[in-house]
């Protein structure tokens, strides 16, 4: 384990996307350098896992999807041309995996119950911690979880992960206008559900 992966591994700092996109690092990744890939995983694990957790609501399922996302990235690295940032590329992979999982037949059967929504509303798993956390934060998590999948993924990528409209459109394969529209609808839904907290 190198110093490049030690700190991110234990959460002391996070190497953000642009810093990881220097040409030398990309070249090492394309060449199959295991240490470079370990550094990539260590620096992006929390964000990739976070997207999966907010989309799926189950920590175990989110870890499964996040792991699959990195494995697919590892297989596709030789073909990665560097047109997009590495972080955007990873968000693309994990978002599509989550949407596929949510669209699967088994997942749909579960989704109609309230269990999933409750778990998504409180991704840390324990409803009793709602009282300990801020009421606003709990309401916000629940409101995000209650969004439709199409709107939820857009608001997560934009407002939680900070992707641009263009990056979201490229990641999800949508038109720019569709991204704007879905994001606006999602924010309006959230605002309506959090109306009581507004000044």
């Amino acid at each position: 384990m190198s110093w490049g992966t030690f700190f991110p591994r234990y959460g002391l700092t996070v190497r953000e996307g642009d810093a990881a996109d220097d040409p030398g690092f990309l070249e090492r990744l394309r060449a199959g350098d295991a240490r470079a890939f370990e550094e990539l995983v260590a620096s992006h694990q929390h964000r990739v896992f976070g997207v999966a957790l907010r989309m799926l609501g189950s920590a175990a399922e989110a870890e499964d999807i996040a792991q699959e996302a990195f494995l697919r990235a590892h297989r596709s690295l030789p073909e990665f041309r560097g047109d997009a940032k590495l972080s955007t590329w990873l968000y693309t992979i994990v978002s599509r995996l989550c949407l596929n999982r949510l669209a699967s037949r088994d997942r749909k059967a579960v989704r109609h119950g309230e269990e999933v929504l409750l778990r998504v509303a409180d991704p840390r798993g324990d409803p009793q911690t709602d009282a300990e956390r801020g009421e606003l934060e709990s309401a916000l998590h629940r409101a995000i979880a209650e969004l439709s999948e199409e709107r939820r993924v857009v608001v997560i990528l934009r407002d939680l992960e900070g992707l641009s409209y263009e990056e979201i459109a490229a990641a999800l394969g949508l038109e720019l206008g569709t991204v704007r529209s879905r994001l606006h609808r999602a924010r309006m839904d959230l605002k309506d559900k959090l109306e009581r907290f507004l000044p």
Binding site: T5, A34, L53, L71, H74, L198
Partner: protein, 348 residues
């Protein structure tokens, strides 16, 4: 721009993604519409809250688990996993292999009397030979019997007793354990008693059979003389047995695997002038007396030959061994067993 059109673009306005013209039109509407301004403030607060949401953290060990999946697995491990790791394949395969081994072991044990005897070390070899019927021993695994003409000649030479009509003498000599087991006990006791009495009287006149033997034979040890007399007495005892109603079936061989691998009872030193010639002569002598060579090895300038000789041929063997060179034997037994195991060291 009306309220509906303005509110559709409020989110984009917050993200500063509008062009200058759209931004100016919206700003103009907002300046005169308090409802849309309130809508914009609410939206701005919501976006602000979203930006402050904590990011969940990946579980501990996530990087290690990903890297463990990524690292290349050698081909033999992949093959091993493919064949053995799924329990649905591994368990039936192992159970089947164990079953095959068990069935094969039982089959071999039942088909091979020698193995069955070896599995019971506490039983005497003679009884095991009696228990095993001759027909049960497969020819490929049982030791090959000595050729009948040789044994017949040796029997006549050693005992000097004419063979009874029907060839009973030859079979009686080599199947003594079997016959002993089947003959009446009284006859056997009388024969042994008589043999022991005659062996004790070593100075007594030799039996009639010995008078026919060549005078050129070298002086023999006392044991061989005693054995000769014992042979004669046993021959007479056998003659008595022929009167008995018991009929002894002919045993194919007295050389069981167990007896051939047992340590030698006697050891002797044969000093000769030409060792190679003596080795050949010894081989001939072993065959002639109905014995079998079990092992041969070189120890320095000497050759050590392990062999077994049946009781009937032992006396002739020891006697003729003296004609090959100077022979000294250690540890003479008081009673000659049905099968004598010897170790002879030939040196120049």
């Amino acid at each position: 721009m009306n309220c509906y059109e303005t509110r559709e673009l409020l989110s984009t306005l917050l993200d500063e993604a509008l062009d200058t013209r759209e931004r100016e039109e919206i700003q103009a509407h907002l300046d005169g519409c308090p409802d849309c301004r309130r809508e914009l403030d609410g939206l701005r607060s919501t976006v602000s809250w979203l930006s402050r949401v904590d990011h969940p953290r990946a579980p501990m060990g996530f990087v290690d688990r990903v890297m463990a999946e990524v690292r290349p697995v050698p081909w033999y491990r992949r093959l091993g996993r493919m064949v053995f790791l799924p329990l649905s394949i591994k368990l039936p395969l192992e159970a089947g292999a164990m079953l095959v081994i068990a069935v094969l072991g039982v089959y071999l044990l039942q088909r091979t009397p020698e193995l069955r005897d070896a599995a019971r070390p506490d039983l005497p070899a003679a009884s095991s030979r009696v228990d095993a019927p001759p027909a049960a021993a497969p020819p490929a695994l049982a030791p090959a019997p000595t050729p009948a003409p040789l044994r017949e000649r040796d029997a006549r030479q050693n005992t000097g007793i004419a063979q009874a009509p029907g060839g009973g003498r030859e079979t009686a000599e080599f199947s003594r354990p079997s016959q002993d087991a089947l003959a009446p006990a009284e006859g056997r006791q009388e024969a042994k008693k008589e043999a022991l009495q005659q062996s004790a009287r070593s100075a007594a006149p030799p039996a009639a059979s010995e008078t026919e033997k060549p005078e050129a034979s070298p002086p023999r040890p006392a044991l061989s003389k005693a054995l000769d007399t014992r042979e004669g007495s046993l021959g007479r005892a056998d003659g008595n047995k022929q009167k008995a109603p018991a009929v002894a079936p002919a045993a194919p061989s007295i050389f069981s695997a167990k007896e051939q691998v047992a340590p030698p009872m006697l050891s002797g030193l044969l000093t000769v002038k030409d060792r190679q010639q003596a080795e050949r002569a010894l081989s001939d002598l072993i065959s002639r007396t109905g014995g079998r060579e079990t092992a041969r090895r070189q120890e320095g300038r000497a050759t050590v030959v392990d062999l077994v000789v049946p009781q009937g041929g032992y006396a002739a063997f020891v006697r003729d061994l003296g004609s090959l060179g100077s022979f000294k034997i250690d540890g003479e037994p008081t009673e000659v067993p049905p099968l004598v195991r010897l170790s002879i060291r030939i040196s120049e």
